[in-house]
Symmetry: C2
Amino acid sequence: MTAEHTATLDDVARAAGVSRATASRVVTGQGPASQHSRDRVTAAVAALGYVPDASARALVTRTGTRLAIAVIGHTAAVLDDPYVGRVLTSAAHVAAEREVGVSLHWLPLHDPGSLARLADGRGLGGLVVVNPTRPALDTVPRSLRGRVAAVGVGTRHVPSFDVDNRSGTDGVVRHLVRSGRSRIAMVTGPSWLPCGDRAVEAYRKVLHDSGGEPRVVPGDFTAIRGAKAAIEIMARWPDTDAVFALSDLTALGVLDGLHALGVRVPGDVAVAGFDDITFAGLSRPGLTTSTHPVEEIAAAAARAVLDRRDTSGATFYPSALVVRDSA
Amino acid sequence: MTAEHTATLDDVARAAGVSRATASRVVTGQGPASQHSRDRVTAAVAALGYVPDASARALVTRTGTRLAIAVIGHTAAVLDDPYVGRVLTSAAHVAAEREVGVSLHWLPLHDPGSLARLADGRGLGGLVVVNPTRPALDTVPRSLRGRVAAVGVGTRHVPSFDVDNRSGTDGVVRHLVRSGRSRIAMVTGPSWLPCGDRAVEAYRKVLHDSGGEPRVVPGDFTAIRGAKAAIEIMARWPDTDAVFALSDLTALGVLDGLHALGVRVPGDVAVAGFDDITFAGLSRPGLTTSTHPVEEIAAAAARAVLDRRDTSGATFYPSALVVRDSA
DNA sequence: CTGTTAGCGCGTTCAA
DNA sequence: TTGAACGCGCTAACAG
């Protein structure tokens, strides 16, 4: 009770009347232990408020004390995306509860070795890959199995935590159709990013069902690209009456591009985004978009890795339409 | 050269022909060492690409392997501020180079014990306090001396890394005056935040010099507050022709509030912000603001803590006017 | 100025 | 099922 000095495993063992080895087995959950000692140890842990020392544990298990967040992209600029900021913030929060830290890394898209190098580095407790490609995930070494999660697509060995792009897109595009739009263009994400595929499919399906023609333009999640895409779209299909961008940042760029063209929003063209970033509510007109529990997704991925949960397979999180002024 | 397994201090010592203790002294920079062995060890470090194992070091120095970023504020919502995201991102990057992670913490403004509790926790390699108050900084235990830095005001024991609010404000307000505005209102930061004081002083000085009357309204760095502040300002001083907000988010809120009032920007009222967040260039009209090297500041603070540099005193970073459409 | 010795807190053999 | 002993990589104390 006289906490004073943070309790060590020795203290727990002594209080429980067992050896340190036994206490260790109970605490880690690895190895055998009788029900009796199990009870005594857990009681002692609770009484002393014991928390394993992450450094000591890492030293012996060669397992590291930090959670790496790796973002795949063309340039290091991907790290500046507000989406990454939200993921990082949330993961850092989860990590803090377990006395571990997070670090942030950029993985060049065309450098297949970078993930393996990162994974080989010491001090790595776990790895969360943001916007991965499947080939990239296949390069994570076996030694990291069970300590990797993806925010985006996963593989058989890497559990995935992602937003339900399909139903999210469906909701937005249907909203556009409902409000009388029929010539709807879409600005996608980067072509190499597999998790955008389901969104494009959903978009095509809604358009097909409502008798519209797909008008797809590639994007890269940046605002600059959105402005350019808007100009391309209006040049190629001048009768376009709505633009859906798979990223709010891009949608804001579309707003900019249309404004430069003298096109009124939503009067002439409706614009919708995807993500519901903070600024979506602050633009003029306010951006209609779909909101995602990004923080929740990131937290789940971080927990899966940190707690070594066997969460294989994919977990999808719902995306909900947010109607503002732009569509 | 056969790197294969990451180099250990033993490897370095062997390669340099000295004992491990000597190698340790050179690497850490603590304790005496002859020039000769110093050279040989540094050469060996470079040749082997040696990076100290953070866990092992932390275990013996009882110093932890993570860098905590603590943000002081009224509610946990301060963690969502994009400014915090930028600080965290940059710090995480610096930390990654040293194989340590960062964690993110909210320090309730009116809970004086929270900083001490955080600092007492194990596993803490260093602490960067964002937007601190001096009384709060005085609660960091002595044991952390030399491993704490502030992004904002500092104290005698805590080095400070901050933007030069004074000259930044001076630049923005002078720009407003130059462009013909004279009835300039200011929305400040939270009243408890000392680093805003210099900005208010600078604002008052410019107004005094140019024969204007100060019109100061308290803010809290949020957009919502900005919208309300705009309405308050126009009600109290209807002839106001410019508003300067000490935060871009707030300035964007001001834009919103003025728009709701039917006031044209910059026609009737000019609006300027502070920070130059990503969205400053995406709002309509584009926000005139002052840009800060937030990433650089955060990186310097993180490095000071991680490298145990004796950077006492305050380091100020320049703030530069960015003229867009709103002023 | 240098090398030797002794742990830091923990997981993991190996015998019992 | 348990406990004793060992070592992870490193810094700190002490002798030389």
